[in-house]
């Protein structure tokens, strides 16, 4: 990969300004680009909200409503509370993934740092939501497992299982986007004309799927922590009846 250096606007402009940026700093700058792409339209659209929406407000309303629909389909009506967290994660990751397809820009998600940051947000919010919804003691009880004498074995197993979640979340997103960008880069280096196009179409698809998978798994984790599993919920309902 040493010989393959793809052009980037950030690199171009920083060299014009006489700045020397490392590749990590360039990725942070790319993240700013994604932030600008997301923040400016939402500021413009929400500054003057109308009951009969204009084109921009219409697009954003569609996005928010679709995300709300997915949340409700996955987590039930209580899922709506997590719209700010899940929605911004979804849009940010989708934006990051798709930015890499624009010539001269790179995906921030093809660096492990960005994806680990997103996964850690999900990891901590999962546990915070779990503790807030069920109380600390009841939440920690899930780590002990069903039988008390299995506890010395179940506690490390559960903790490792919990720690594996952010690892697999971040590595999956990073691996897919990195692979996709690398394939595109190599194809562009070999045959610049027309041949990379089908791959780019495929890359749009994988970008959307990866953003969706990330968000969907975080929804599953948060729902699992908030409810404590279906069995517990049914048991507590039965207990209330008695």
């Amino acid at each position: 990969m040493e010989g393959l250096e793809s052009f980037s606007w950030i690199h171009f402009f920083s060299q014009k300004l006489g700045l020397h940026l490392t590749s990590e700093m360039e990725l942070v700058a790319m993240t700013w680009v994604v932030m600008l792409i997301l923040v400016i339209p939402s500021l413009l659209a929400t500054r003057r909200l109308r009951s009969v929406p204009g084109p921009l407000q219409n697009v954003l309303e569609f996005l928010v409503e679709s995300l709300e629909g997915i949340l409700e389909a996955m987590m039930g009506w209580r899922g709506r509370r997590y719209l700010p967290l899940i929605g911004s994660l979804a849009l940010f990751i989708l934006g990051c993934n798709l930015l890499g397809l624009i010539p001269g820009f790179h995906s921030p998600t093809n660096n492990l740092n960005t994806t680990v940051a997103c996964a850690l947000v999900v990891f901590f919010s999962t546990h915070i939501i779990g503790i807030r919804e069920q109380g600390a003691l009841r939440y920690l009880k899930h780590f002990v497992g069903p039988v008390w004498w299995l506890a010395p074995m179940m506690v490390p197993v559960e903790i490792i299982g919990q720690l594996a979640r952010p690892v697999s979340l971040s590595v999956r997103l990073f691996g897919n986007i990195f692979g996709e960008d690398t394939v595109l880069l190599i194809l562009l280096a070999l045959v610049p004309l027309l041949i990379p196009l089908p791959m780019m179409v495929l890359a749009i698809f994988t970008s959307c799927v990866q953003a969706f998978v990330f968000v969907m798994l975080s929804m599953i984790y948060i729902a699992g922590a908030g409810e404590g599993g279906h069995r517990e919920k049914m048991e507590s309902q039965e207990g209330r009846k008695e």
Binding site: G69, I70, A73, G161, L163
Partner: protein, 78 residues
């Protein structure tokens, strides 16, 4: 109107893609995390190789517990 359309939109196939995509990597991640914890505890407590072996087993067990649960949930969903 749009919400109704989203609900009519078949989400279950996508849900399954997500579940299935998470299965393989979770197994590997849990094993790797167990290995890493054991390795560093061994380095710290100078008890090599016992904690490494123990936590590697814990990691593998965690991976399979996760796999079992996810598959169970997947089959319960259908």
């Amino acid at each position: 109107m749009r919400l109704v359309m989203m609900k009519g939109f078949d989400l279950s196939g996508w849900k399954q893609i997500g579940y299935l995509a998470s299965l393989g990597l979770n197994l590997v991640a849990a094993t790797a995390i167990g290995l890493a914890i054991g390795y560093h505890l061994d380095k710290w407590l100078k008890t090599s190789p016992w904690l490494l072996m123990l936590f590697l087993l814990f990691g593998i067990a965690a991976g399979f517990v996760n796999l079992f649960r996810e598959v169970h949930r997947l089959r319960g969903d259908d």
